[in-house]
């Protein structure tokens, strides 16, 4: 039943040979990898306006048209980061982004910091974007507000299922909403500029400003800049997800990256300029895009199209994480810093385990925060800029070692990128420290510690299994213990099996009901006269306790003896039959799994009805 459901939801397994067919064109990859980055234009300008408006509480008058130069500065930073990542794509066409670059050039600790930052960022992106999209739905239909957590979970599960169907399928499903959002944004900006150029809207006159160099003023501007840097989140997605491109991989990925950065710059600057031209401050009850759409097109089909596409892109920002998180996990897992299962391709040639893990953690966050994750927004900018900085700094080292022509100017570009993103990281960390940036540092340290522990475990396992000091053991002595609840076909089958592997077979029964065991003894002597039956009493009615102790005793009975516990077990042919029987066998298996020098074997008896 599970297999049929899986096939309906996910589709039939794909052959490994079909992997090249799963690679995407630039157009399709843009839809998958750009949704996170482009969705930030839906709120980045608003974040700047919100930060500037906060000055009023401190008695500072900050003209809101400052949002335009701040957006301009962020666009310049975007260009620097995009060019730097373009260089990364050129040098590391196998992907991995900050992790791979830092590992090759800055060392393992820096690489782990980069990986931890990115993984955290991807998880938060899913939680935050889905919560934001669902908030848009519940704003439109307030009756759904009480179901927001369920809606968030449903959205995550839907995106998960589409992604589990494969890269091509997710690109096909999600390309429409992404391109529709781009179209709506260009319509909004085009319409707004047209009305501005026609003189239908007049920007407000410049306000008198206070002393520009006061500390509070500078802090406020920096805070607005840091808030607006939310626009950069997702720029790294192309460099991390480079493996999904069709060849020539580097070139296709670079073109996609530059197209994405250009779209972001145009949409972000356009929105910021319109906010100034139409004099729309931050209003908590209505988003900036909604205000602009209403003012430019009136409340009609175009306005609703803009609102719907914004809602869709906010939810689909999570899709970028589903593309990149599992890929990064697979690269980190190949280096044994994450469980190996994360490095395996699933039925549909995607890293299904990574996707499931991402969905689970994001759902957990959404449930814990009740579907409202505003508190998490400040957290993920720190992670993003840490990854940016490590990646750029790593590239500077890479070019310095390289003998490639143009390595000098390439190093200079990356150095500018590294310094710029490090400064933003510092600003974001300082201004958002109290809002939760400290938590990122704690979480980063915890994740890096976990990486090290996992790697250490794999190292210990490899060393223990190594053949370096292997010595062939003496001939093994073998005692088989068969736990029995009574005597029947299933038990006798297990006894026969035990006799086939050992000359020393002991049957053991735990008498927990205080019953007289004479009847069992008599039956036993009739059916298995040559196998000793040990009947243990259990005054506290536990089967597990006396049985496990007895098995321990058998293990120490003879020197260099291996004990095999042969468990008779029946297998139902209906899944619900399982619930009609007690689970002693399952508990016993789990308990014995952790005991050294004990081998557990099941002898299944398949029920016919």
């Amino acid at each position: 039943m599970f297999r049929r459901l899986k096939q309906i939801l996910i589709g039939s397994p794909l052959e490994t040979a079909a992997l090249p067919e799963q690679h995407l064109s630039k157009k399709a990859a843009l839809a998958v990898l750009a949704s996170d980055n482009l969705s930030s234009t839906a709120y980045a300008t608003e974040e700047i306006l919100l930060a500037l408006s906060a000055g009023a509480a401190m008695g500072l008058v900050v003209p809101l048209h400052y949002a335009v130069p701040i957006a301009g500065a962020i666009v310049i930073l975007t260009a620097i980061v995009a060019i730097s990542y373009g260089q990364t794509l050129h040098a590391y066409p196998t992907g991995g982004g900050a992790y791979t670059v830092a590992k090759e050039n800055l060392g393992v600790t820096a690489a782990l910091a980069g990986a931890a930052a990115l993984l955290m960022d991807y998880i938060l992106t899913v939680a935050v974007s889905v919560a934001a999209g669902v908030a848009a739905i519940t704003s439109a239909v307030p009756a759904l507000y009480s179901h927001r957590v369920s809606l968030c979970i449903l959205a995550v599960v839907l995106i998960l299922v589409v992604n589990l169907r494969g890269v091509r399928e997710s690109a096909a499903v999600f390309a429409g909403p992404v391109y529709f959002f781009i179209l709506c944004m260009f319509a909004l900006i085009g319409g707004g500029l047209w009305r501005y150029l026609q003189g239908e809207v007049v920007p407000p006159p410049a306000q008198a400003t206070q002393e520009l160099m006061s500390v509070a003023y500078v802090f406020l501007l920096l805070r607005a800049f840091a808030a607006g840097c939310a626009a950069l989140t997702g720029v790294e997605a192309v460099a991390n997800g480079v493996r999904i491109f069709k060849p020539p991989v580097s070139r296709n990925a670079s073109v996609t990256l530059y197209v994405m950065a250009s779209l972001l710059a145009t949409m972000f600057l356009g929105t910021s300029f319109l906010a100034y031209a139409y004099n729309f401050p931050h209003r908590p009850e209505e988003t900036l895009l909604s205000q602009l759409g209403r003012a430019i097109f009136g409340v009609g089909p175009i306005y609703y199209a803009i609102q719907a596409s914004t809602m869709a892109i906010l939810i689909l920002a999570a899709n970028t994480s589903f593309a990149d998180f599992p890929r990064l996990c697979s690269i980190v897992a190949q280096d044994r810093f994450l469980p190996r299962q994360l490095a395996n391709l699933g039925d549909r040639l995607v890293f299904s385990n990574g996707m499931l893990f991402l969905a689970l953690v994001a759902i957990l966050l959404l449930v814990v925060f009740g579907g409202s994750v505003h508190a998490l927004i400040p957290l993920y900018m720190v992670g993003v800029f840490l990854a940016f900085t490590l990646s750029q700094a790593g590239m500077v080292v890479h070019w310095r070692k390289s003998k490639e022509p143009g390595a000098g100017w390439r190093a200079a570009v990356n150095a500018v990128g590294a310094v710029a993103t490090a400064l933003v990281l510092l600003v974001v960390a300082v201004v958002k420290f109290k809002e939760g940036a400290w938590m990122v540092i704690v979480a980063l340290a915890a994740i890096m510690f976990m990486f090290r522990r996992i790697r250490n475990h794999y190292f210990v396992v490899t060393r223990e299994l190594s053949l370096m000091d292997y010595q062939k053991p003496e001939e093994l002595r073998h005692t088989a213990v068969v736990p029995v609840a009574g005597i029947n076909k299933m038990v006798l089958a297990a006894i026969e099996y035990a006799r086939s592997i050992s000359k020393d077979v002991i049957a053991v029964h735990v008498n927990r009901d205080g019953e007289h065991p004479e009847e069992l003894q008599q039956q036993w002597h009739s059916w298995a006269p040559d196998v000793p039956l040990v009947i243990l009493e259990s005054p506290y009615r536990s089967i597990r306790g006396p049985l496990l102790r007895f098995i321990d005793e058998v293990r120490s009975w003879r020197d260099e003896d291996v004990v095999t516990v042969v468990i008779p077990e029946f297998v139902s042919n209906r899944w619900w039959h399982h619930f009609l029987h007690n689970q002693t066998t399952a508990f016993l298996k789990v308990a014995l799994l952790f005991k050294p020098h004990i081998i557990v074997t099941s002898v299944p008896h398949h029920l016919r009805r």
């Binding site: 000793p532 536990s542 006396p546 003879r558």
Partner: protein, 87 residues
């Protein structure tokens, strides 16, 4: 390997008085001989705690009662089924 009922009975009759003397709560459960006919496993139980005492079968046959008792006592003490106070 299963011993004959007579053999089992005679081993039980020999061991049970020693076990009872060491601790009246100790119960003789079963006796097993391995396929090499070297190791005798004596299964005893106190409350819900089973134990398997090990005796060299060849030596057991000619073992004096005092030595047999000491062997049982040492193993039971090592398995913490009887306390030091009984020494």
């Amino acid at each position: 390997m299963e011993l004959t009922p007579e053999r089992k009975r005679s081993i039980r009759q020999r061991l049970e008085p020693h076990l009872t003397a060491l601790d009246p709560d100790l119960h003789f459960i079963e006796v097993i001989l391995d396929s090499e006919r070297r190791n005798l496993g004596v299964v005893v139980q106190k409350e819900d705690r089973p134990a398997m005492l090990r005796l060299d079968f060849i030596r057991y046959v000619s073992m004096p009662e005092s030595e047999l008792r000491t062997t049982l006592e040492e193993q039971l003490r090592a398995k913490k089924l009887i306390g030091n106070s009984r020494r």
